[in-house]
């Protein structure tokens, strides 16, 4: 009996009419449907490309002229700066709100939850408008003793520039989202870690800074990449505050020369370029943090898909 397991001869064990030799080959693949759907899609792509090239209203010359212009590039730099600063503000606010929500003092936890509710619940576009119009609510901003004397006051329109309004609007909204991510990260760290640190006599701040946060980073960092990509695009809303970032720079140009579509395309190309670069970074960050977990394999499968389209698997020749 024992040699049946290692026996590689293909002699039939039962008289069932099945050709064992045929079974050793891999099955034929039928690609008829694959080719049909692919050609329909390819034809659609051809139609769209044809119109992109032949429709004169795209004015590609104008698009690429402005794409490489200094004005849009300056706008792009402002967009990048806005994205970076808003993300930093968002992370700081997010960590503070997350810690406050986990605080034993229920008043602090409640206030933090309320702020998250406000900054996450009101559309970021509306929040930007509020910050832009802050002078309508508080014309002067003063530092002093509440209900007492004031030491210093400044016109809100001077203090809250469009840039600052944009940072406040984007940063606080981001902070509200970030706080949920940070909170999930903090809660994901095993309670035993805190207990072990406590048992060693560590103070609360040391436990947070040295033990819990580093472990929570695994959960916190990957979504931050996503949020950054999202933030880059959200900064375009700031055009409503007349802050000349990428979109508003394009708008300023087309309001003068009426080349609306070419300028929007030029701006879009820049957005696409930067988000593509960020997405690539995101891919590597995720692969780094998913190392060892099953998700990495899914990411690896991705290039394989294109392979099947490029070359059909070779047909197995079956000798009879």
């Amino acid at each position: 009996m024992s040699d049946t397991a290692t026996d590689s001869s293909t002699e039939a064990v039962a008289d069932d009419g099945i050709d064992r030799k045929l079974l050793l080959g891999r099955p034929h693949q039928h690609h008829g449907m694959l080719w049909l759907t692919a050609s329909i899609v390819l034809f659609a792509i051809f139609l769209v490309s044809y119109s992109l090239v032949t429709n004169p209203r795209f004015e590609w010359g104008v698009v690429f002229g402005w794409f490489s212009s200094e004005r849009l590039f300056t706008g792009l730099l402002r967009t990048l700066g806005l994205t970076a600063i808003s993300m930093v503000v968002g992370i700081v606010v997010g960590v503070i709100l997350a810690l406050a929500r986990l605080a034993p003092n229920f008043i602090i936890a409640g206030v933090a939850a309320f702020l998250v509710w406000i900054f996450r619940g009101v559309p970021v576009f509306v929040q930007l408008l509020f910050w832009g119009f802050i002078a309508a609510i508080y014309p002067r901003i003063a530092i002093g003793i509440p209900f007492g004397p004031e030491f210093f006051s400044v016109d809100a329109n001077v203090l809250i520039t469009p840039f600052l309004a944009a940072i406040l609007g984007l940063g606080l909204n981001e902070g509200a989202y970030k706080s949920e991510i940070v909170r999930a990260g903090l809660l994901s760290v095993n309670r035993g870690q805190t207990e072990a640190a406590k048992a060693l006599g560590m103070r609360r701040f040391t436990i947070l800074w040295r033990i819990v946060l580093p472990q929570a980073m695994k959960i916190i960092i990957p979504p931050t990449g996503n949020q950054t990509i999202s933030m880059l695009k959200t900064t375009s809303l700031v055009s409503v505050l007349a802050f000349p970032e990428l979109l508003y720079s394009a708008q300023l140009v087309y309001s003068a020369n009426f080349k609306t579509i070419p300028l929007l395309i030029a701006a879009s190309l820049w957005y696409l370029l930067v988000t593509s670069i960020l997405s690539l970074g995101q891919f590597y960050i995720e692969r780094h943090y998913n190392r060892g977990s099953g998700k990495t394999d899914q990411l690896r499968n991705f290039p394989r898909f294109s392979k099947t389209l490029r070359s059909r698997p070779p047909k197995q020749e079956v000798q009879s």
Binding site: A197, A199, T206, Q215
Partner: protein
């Protein structure tokens, strides 16, 4: 008789409606190894956790090294300790957990050095030297630069013991230190604990290892249903138990 390290009187602990500790009285003396045995859910781990304030008391008191646990007496009144005061009182009590709880983002050396450097503000060089001595003592000197995930359970637990010892505690608490280990790894951890006991460390060990309790402990406590049912010399408790509940438990585990 040697000096008293832990004095517990009438210790009560509730988890919601569940009465986990129903008035525990215990005295632990310097240099003694005390083993606490008993069925699951008898409250032995909870009592251990009360000693270093991982749980707060709902009744009674514990005095460790002459300091009341979790409270201070000020102007004739009892007040709760601040977080910082609680942390300070834990510095002298080492604890070893069932699930090791090593810090996974730090090397073995990092795990051992973290608390002495951050909490006691000792110099890096002094702490490193002590860490290597301790690793030598638990037989893991070669693993200093390794991360915990690369160690077996037994090795992790020995590192956890070294980590606790690095704070130079005057009392060591062991919460079922071998319960999460594969059977063939239990021995190496018990050997380290035996060495520690021989060196005169005051130890309280919650365990299911009856053999270890019989061999090493100076004092054996049997707990059931939130009470100390029986205590005394390990041989007499194990060989001639006085209470039915002790007899029933020992009949199951021996």
């Amino acid at each position: 008789m040697s000096e008293v390290v832990v004095e517990a009187r009438g210790v009560v602990k509730n988890f919601g409606d569940l009465n986990v500790l129903k008035g525990i009285d215990l005295t632990i003396r310097r240099g003694d190894v005390t083993c606490i045995i008993g069925p699951s859910g008898s409250g032995k781990s909870t009592f251990l956790r009360c000693i270093n304030q991982l749980e707060t008391l709902d009744g009674g008191y514990i005095i460790v090294e002459g300091q009341p646990v979790g409270v201070k007496i000020k102007k004739g009144r009892v007040e709760a300790q601040s977080n910082a005061e609680a942390a300070r009182s834990r510095e002298n009590i080492g604890m070893v957990f069932q699930s090791f709880n090593l810090f996974p983002h730090m090397t073995v050396l990092g795990n051992i050095c973290e608390a002495p450097i951050r909490v006691k503000k000792e110099s890096r060089a002094v702490v490193r030297k002590r860490a290597y001595d301790l690793l030598d003592r638990v037989g893991l000197a070669a693993k200093a630069e390794v991360y915990p995930a690369a160690l077996s359970g037994g090795q992790q637990q020995r590192v956890a013991i070294a980590r606790a010892l690095a704070m130079e505690p005057r009392l060591m608490l062991f919460d079922e230190p071998t319960s999460a280990l594969d059977p063939e790894l239990v021995g190496e951890v018990l050997d380290v604990m035996r060495g520690l006991a021989d060196a005169g460390m005051t130890m309280i060990v919650v365990t299911h290892e009856i053999g270890f309790a019989r061999e090493v402990s100076d004092h054996l406590i049997f707990m059931d249903d939130g009470c100390v049912v029986e205590q005394g010399d390990p041989r007499s408790v194990l060989h001639s138990p006085q209470h039915d509940r002790t007899k029933q438990f020992l009949a199951k585990v021996l």
